[in-house]
């Protein structure tokens, strides 16, 4: 299953849409895992004549299908940080009118959105579509460390070891949700972890 309907939440929580082609002189498509399917859905031969694709397979097997769309450039790499220099390069070469499409996990969407915003694209001009894992990129509000791919609530901060409650409070600047110590008032009283949306 690659599509998931997130429950309604507070205003801070990002809302994802469905990628749709928009006119522009160039297109940048960034995806991880099952996000590839969203690219395959939106791609047209004309769009691909001016498109750059950056893909992080994360164990999925879509890379060859994406490559065979014949974009101007195709990059496949192991992690977001590995792909950063390619992403920054495409953004710095781009002119106004570039359309940005992000698909896949929330962590990938948030970080790539951040890079596009830093390059000068207003955040609401960037299209996003969630696919695949519902894991979150979490920031510990206490030690500020980031824990990637969090699927359970509460979870243990990889940096300081506190048990953190998964909040829907999101930071666009950090591309992360906020995790808050769950047993601060009553040390040791930590509920059993379950899936974030269970």
């Amino acid at each position: 299953m690659s599509k998931f309907t997130f429950p309604e939440s507070i205003k801070s929580r990002p809302v994802y849409g469905t990628l749709a082609m928009r006119d522009g002189p160039a297109h940048l498509l960034v995806a991880d895992g099952h996000g590839a399917e969203a690219i395959l859905d939106v791609a047209t031969p004309i769009m691909m004549t001016k498109a750059h694709i950056i893909y992080l397979p994360k164990g999925e097997k879509f890379a060859n299908r994406l490559r065979s769309l014949n974009p101007i450039s195709f990059y496949s790499g192991p992690s977001y940080s590995a792909a950063t220099s390619r992403l920054v390069k495409v953004l710095s070469d781009a002119k106004m009118g570039l359309q940005v499409y992000l698909a896949g996990t929330e962590g990938l969407i948030g970080q790539a959105q951040n890079a596009a915003m830093e390059a000068g694209i207003p955040h609401n001009a960037i299209q996003t579509e969630h696919r695949g894992s519902i894991a979150r990129r979490m920031q510990c509000v206490h030690c500020k460390g980031i824990t990637e791919d969090v699927e359970i609530d509460p979870f243990i901060c990889e940096h300081c070891g506190l048990s953190l409650f998964v909040r829907d409070h999101y930071s666009r600047r950090l591309a992360a949700y906020q995790g808050v110590c769950i047993d601060a008032e009553d040390p040791g009283n930590i509920p059993k972890s379950k899936g974030i949306y269970e």
Binding site: D23, S92, M96, G120, A125
Partner: protein
């Protein structure tokens, strides 16, 4: 009071720039400093023209950090309702006038990596202040300025002297035109475009930029509409319990103010949304001319912007 705070000023200088445009400079009558503003701000100038009080918005074109004096440039409009003619013909150095605190509905987006200014004619004025503001912070900008002819090119000399690399001037009478598509295509990511000029130019720039894939948030425009004259009509003001007549040459907002009713406003040009008024009942047709309400709201018959819009028909009852 529903408008914004007022400043008593004295006219300290009047400079005729060309056949159509004259610059007016104001200082405070009490000798104190004026507030600073941000580039793109305007002031509403009160004109006591006999029985009529006119309130016209003009972009501030002086240095936003200069607190000693403000400057505006007024283009004479012989066909208009008379505000610009009043400024040109009846205002002299030494006159006391009332202006509003600066209001900015056309500010720079300082997140932009580059600011691309497109001006038509007197639309140059807000950019003069914005350029002074950006220069202070070493901002990156370009200006493409279209004028009717060399003799009507207000501030062209000043701009080309001080900013020869940033300023590009186009003269209509020499058939010079901005190659807009090419200009927009070449802009680096993070550029914001700002346009001020005639309506046709604003539409042209906004539509071309969206067609070229520019995000809505990166397109800025300012167009002051002057209220257009029209057939007289009658309005019932439900809250004040008055029935008033709107004359041919005055706006609905001006008629409401004439009756001593405190009505909100800021731009008086159909842009800011401050004067939005609920319609309680009507029988007839609205002549909506604002940029504020959406198409659906225009059709709904539930709202009107009295600064620029009018009405033709039998009954109009407003929640004012």
């Amino acid at each position: 009071m529903s408008g914004i705070e007022k400043i008593q000023v004295v006219v300290t200088n009047i400079v005729r720039l060309n056949e159509l445009v004259t610059r007016f400079e104001f200082k405070r009558t009490d000798g104190k400093l004026l507030p600073t503003f941000s580039g793109g701000a305007h002031t509403v100038v009160e004109m006591q023209d006999g029985e009529i009080t006119r309130l016209n918005p003009y972009s501030l074109m002086s240095d936003p950090m200069c607190q000693r004096a403000y400057a505006i440039s007024v283009r004479r409009d012989d066909e208009g309702r008379g505000g610009s003619l009043f400024m040109h013909n009846k205002v002299s150095v030494g006159d006391n006038m009332v202006i509003s605190y600066p209001i900015n509905l056309f500010s720079l987006d300082l997140r932009a990596k580059k600011h691309l200014f497109i001006a038509g004619g007197i639309g140059i004025t807000p950019f003069l202040a914005q350029i002074k503001q950006l220069d202070r912070f070493n901002g990156y900008w370009n200006l493409h300025y279209s004028c009717r002819s060399e003799s009507l090119g207000s501030y062209v000399d000043e701009l080309t002297d001080q900013h020869p690399n940033e300023t590009h001037v186009y003269y209509d009478d020499k058939d010079q035109q901005i190659d807009l598509v090419k200009l927009l295509e070449g802009q680096p990511l993070g550029t914001h475009v700002y346009v001020c000029g005639p309506k046709g130019m604003i539409d042209w720039v906004c539509n071309t930029a969206s067609k070229e894939g520019w995000p809505r948030e990166a397109i800025h425009y300012e167009e002051f509409l002057a209220p257009k004259p029209g057939k007289p009509f009658e309005v019932k003001l439900a809250v004040s319990g008055k029935v008033i007549q709107v004359g041919e040459q005055e706006s609905l907002l001006e008629a409401i103010e004439r009756e001593g009713i405190d009505a909100p406003y800021l731009c008086r040009g159909g842009a800011c949304g401050q004067c939005e008024t609920a319609v309680i009942d009507y029988a007839g047709n609205f002549i909506h001319r604002d940029h504020w309400l959406g198409e659906d709201e225009h059709k709904s018959g539930q709202k009107i912007m009295p600064c620029v819009s009018r009405f033709e028909g039998k009954i109009l009852v407003l929640d004012r």
